[in-house]
């Protein structure tokens, strides 16, 4: 009898404990993570410092490979479109910079910390400002969603006594500096050759159309541009994933958000005017 009542107590223990019963299946990494790391998706100022340092290194490397377009009015125009978007993005602490670079590659790049590059070739393929906004928004989304930061685990250095002691006991030293420079190396390659992971690209697409909508730009701009690029097989930068799947995913995301039929600004006239008058980049 006594052992039965004990068994009953044990059964009660488990039956009424909601955290014991698995609700939806969660990943082991999630429930294994302890209180000290459970907020690893929050970022502090020192993380942003580290991200910026890193982003500037990458940007400088990219600028070493590509020449900045000397067309100052074009640079300003692209920055004005970009800043319109970044006013509504989720990382107001960053100063985004938009740069037109001379290249025949139809591509755009962004670095952690907010440097966004568009090539002269990609500008020639656009027909209106909403398409430009779509591409810029996509690159901005890579930064606000911290794709590279997460991929490379960029974390701010800690200057506390605790971390110094920890480093002393653990024996870390210059290896951190070497890790940094190798990470820079890897990130440049990531942007130029590996491309972001497919999921990251699609997440950036979904974030981009929302950002365009918040900023008053027609979200279809990105869709029409990707459709166009998909049809151009040669010469496109290798970093973008397969277009059909990508477009279908994007259109589904837009339909879920109810923004497919939104008719917002295209600013075609302004775009054409600036490209024609100011651009070496003429619409083709």
């Amino acid at each position: 009898m006594k052992s039965l009542s004990l068994l009953f107590m044990i059964a009660l223990l488990f039956a009424f404990q909601p955290s014991v019963l698995p609700a939806a299946e969660s990943k082991a990494e999630d429930w294994r993570s302890r209180a000290s790391v459970v907020d690893r998706d929050t970022y502090s100022e020192s993380d942003t410092d580290e991200e910026l340092n890193f982003g500037r290194e990458i940007a400088a490397r990219l600028l070493g490979q590509f020449k900045i377009s000397s067309n100052e009015k074009l640079q300003k125009y692209v920055n004005l479109v970009g800043k319109t978007l970044t006013q509504n993005c989720s990382r107001p602490e960053l100063d985004f910079h938009f740069v037109v670079i001379e290249s025949s590659e139809i591509n755009a790049y962004s670095t952690p910390g907010g440097y966004v590059f568009v090539t002269t070739a990609v500008l020639t393929k656009m027909e209106n400002e909403a398409e430009l906004a779509g591409v810029l928004a996509h690159e901005i989304a890579h930064v606000t969603d911290r794709h590279i930061v997460k991929e490379l685990s960029l974390k701010g250095a800690e200057k506390s006594a605790v971390s110094s002691i920890a480093a002393l006991i653990g024996g870390a030293s210059e290896s951190v500096g070497i890790a940094f420079s190798q990470t820079v190396d890897k990130a440049v390659d990531l942007i130029l050759r590996d491309g972001y992971k497919k999921e990251d690209e699609m997440q950036a697409d979904a974030s981009a159309v929302m950002l365009c909508a918040f900023s008053g730009y027609d979200p279809s701009g990105l869709v029409t541009f990707l459709d166009k690029i998909g049809k151009i097989k040669s010469g496109v930068g290798k970093t973008y994933p397969v277009y059909d799947v990508r477009l279908a995913t994007l259109q589904r995301a837009m339909s879920d958000e109810g923004i497919v039929e939104m008719k917002l600004a295209l600013n075609s006239e302004r775009f054409t005017r600036i490209m024609k008058i100011e651009g070496k980049a003429k619409p083709n």
Binding site: A60, L80, T84, N88, A179, V184, D189, R193
Partner: protein, 164 residues
């Protein structure tokens, strides 16, 4: 056995206490300079009003990519991408920074060669580098940083736009 029962009850109460304290309400904060609160979880719906960066609220629900809150007595929605658990960070720019990590000449040299980035555990295929070498152009970067857009310029640009 009686002692055993007491122990079991004590353990259970302790356990409930611990699990209860682990779950607590959290505040959320709006991130961008200004965000619009919508009447429904859709960008196409009516705008109830706007809130500034740093606006703090407690979420009363979540629908897909939208966070539900009480706004001016009504249910409103903010896009999930525009909120976070921590307040927005202060403006942070690094110009010609001294705070860049001090890389020794030796580690610089190692970054120029195609080696496995072992410290970060990423696989790396050995292939030809893209091109023109691996130099960095900080002067060009400074030029990029120097380009500033004033808020008046931006405002008039936005007023001029909004057309099809």
């Amino acid at each position: 056995m009686k002692n055993g029962h007491v122990l079991l009850i004590a353990f259970y109460m302790f356990y409930l206490l611990i699990t209860a304290t682990a779950f607590s309400e959290e505040s959320l904060y709006v991130q961008p300079f200004r965000a619009r609160v919508f009447a429904k979880p859709s960008v196409a719906s009516e705008v109830l009003g706007s809130v500034d960066s740093g606006f703090q609220f407690v979420s009363i629900g979540k629908e897909k990519n939208w966070i539900k809150l009480l706004f001016k007595g009504k249910a409103g929605y903010l896009p999930a991408v525009q909120v976070a658990k921590t307040p927005p960070l202060g403006k942070n720019t690094v110009q010609g920074s001294d705070s860049a990590p001090k890389l020794s000449v030796r580690s610089r040299a190692s970054s120029s060669s195609a080696v496995v980035a072992g410290m970060k555990g990423l696989t790396y295929e050995d292939r030809a580098r893209v091109s023109k070498g691996e130099r960095s152009d900080y002067d060009a970067l400074d030029k990029v940083d120097a380009l500033k857009i004033s808020s008046d310029e931006l405002k008039s640009f936005q007023l001029e736009g909004g057309k099809r």
